[in-house]
């Protein structure tokens, strides 16, 4: 196993390997999205309480899930980069951040769109939305730090350390916001606030899972695309990149 890892951990091999993989994964993403959307928009029944607006769940929940998942990938890749000084891991963290931030933003937008019919306002300090907002700030902090440092090595390692501190703090922040929410929440809103987990009827569960997988594969595609760009940038002083650029 280890030599497989070593073979593909070298940026050059990974660059070609990613190049082959991207079209296939893109195809899988399109298929999954088509199935998920068809099931979500046509087959799934409307919710007895929220009516058709429950269909927003098929975007909001996978996006919220991705925002958390990508931050884990960010922190994990950062940790590997910090401990084993694996250049590819450093690049993965740098490449994953903007994608994670976009999913977090999508989760916030769809959360607000989903809440509006119920709450009558575009934003309510609901525990999940607030945690999602703070997660967005964590992403923006990571990207701002990386942008502010010119030396790519220091940028990657500083970002990795920040992501590790962030990932340790996410449960604490979520717990604190949950506690804060129950203290200050007027009774009326909290009863509807369980948007994220209405009774999961199988016909709702399937599109949810398929959309979540579709988003994950999509993340893999864009991550590989960004990684190829990062590899060219970080390996710009090597022979093989020079040849690639000439061709």
């Amino acid at each position: 196993m280890f030599d497989f890892l070593h073979k593909y951990a070298s940026p050059r091999n990974f660059y070609d390997f990613a190049g082959i993989l991207i079209p296939w994964l893109a195809g899988v993403t399109v298929v999954l999205l088509a199935i998920g959307l068809y099931q979500g928009l046509f087959l799934a029944p409307p919710d007895y309480q929220q009516g058709q607006s429950v269909r927003i769940m098929f975007i909001h929940v996978p996006a919220a899930w991705m925002s958390m998942f990508v931050y884990m990938v960010l922190a994990g890749a950062g940790a590997v980069g910090l401990i084993w000084h694996l250049k590819l891991a450093e690049m993965t963290a740098a490449a994953a951040a903007p994608i994670g931030a976009s999913f977090t933003f999508l989760a916030l937008v769809t959360g607000s769109l989903w809440g509006k019919p119920m709450w009558g306002t575009w934003w309510a300090w609901d525990a999940r939305l607030t945690s999602e907002l703070i997660l967005l700030f964590l992403y923006l902090g990571f990207m701002a730090l990386q942008a502010a440092i010119d030396d790519p090595k220091r940028a990657a390692r500083a970002g990795a350390l920040l992501a590790l501190i962030g990932v340790v703090n996410i449960p604490v922040i979520h717990f604190s916001v949950q506690w804060w929410n129950t203290l200050h929440q007027p009774a009326s809103v909290s009863s509807i606030a369980k948007i994220g987990a209405p009774a999961i009827h199988p016909s709702l569960l399937w599109p949810l899972l398929i959309m979540a997988i579709a988003f994950t594969v999509f993340f893999a595609v864009v991550l590989l695309m960004r990684l190829r760009a990062e590899i060219l940038h970080r390996e710009r002083y090597t022979h093989w990149v020079a040849e690639r650029i000439k061709s």
């Binding site: 700030f137 964590l138 440092i149 920040l162 501190i165 703090n169 922040i173 604190s176």
Partner: protein, 226 residues
């Protein structure tokens, strides 16, 4: 060896405290900032005692957060500029302990004065009598964590352009639990409830931060000086 460590920590602490004594402006600025920010709210919101009483704890804590943030660059950036930070990193003593010593010096010259000034400002915000004790205790438990987490942010952003704003963006999200339970404790005490739960959580954050954060600060310093 441990006696060497004790003397190294003692002289790092003494050095920063003498520097603070020699430049009192550095200590005074965050305090004045703290007072100004608090006095903005009656002007901006309303002088109505009922309103201010509701806002009080939150305003005090947000202002304390921002005042700590303002003073964080004093921690390492001067030493980074003149090269003495490299002495600290190249000392045979464990860097995490030396970083903790510098953070303690920062807290003594920023957090402690904030705590002592806060009751005066609390009077301006009509904070009920019952809450003063909790305010002091909550700040006593919370401000060291602000300094500790802030130290990691300061170490990560050494020598970067736009360091101050960047530092705030990195550190403020991590401050939210301290703000929630710090302000929560004072609000609970002000409305007659027991702030024990909040204070015990703040204490837990402090213990965990003291145990782990200095190592992160040391790692951040090594990364920045690489």
């Amino acid at each position: 060896m441990s006696s060497g460590l004790f003397t190294a920590v003692a002289c790092a602490l003494r050095r920063d405290l003498t520097l603070a004594a020699r430049k009192p402006a550095d200590v005074a600025t965050p305090l004045v900032f703290f007072a100004i920010v608090v006095s903005l709210f009656p002007l901006g919101v309303s002088p109505e005692p009922a309103i201010l009483r509701g806002l009080g704890p939150g305003v005090l804590w947000v202002a304390a957060l921002l005042a700590t943030l303002l003073s964080l660059n004093r921690l390492f950036s001067a030493d980074y500029a003149d090269g003495s930070l490299e002495l600290l990193v190249l000392s045979p003593q464990p860097l995490a302990v030396l970083a903790a010593a510098k953070t303690l010096a920062h807290w003594l010259t920023t957090g402690l004065p904030l705590i002592l000034l806060s009751p005066v400002l609390a009077v301006q915000l009509y904070l009920p009598e019952a809450a003063y004790g909790t305010l002091l205790l909550a700040l006593l438990l919370g401000t060291p964590v602000l300094s500790l987490i802030g130290a990691v942010g300061a170490a990560l952003t050494l020598g970067l352009r736009g360091g101050g704003v960047l530092l705030s963006l990195l550190v403020l999200p991590l401050y939210t639990p301290i703000l929630i339970f710090g302000a929560g404790a004072v609000t609970a005490a002000a409305s007659g409830f027991s702030p024990e739960a909040h204070l015990s959580l703040l204490g837990a954050f402090l213990v965990v931060a003291l145990a782990f954060v200095p190592w992160a600060t040391a790692a951040a310093l090594r990364i920045s000086l690489d």
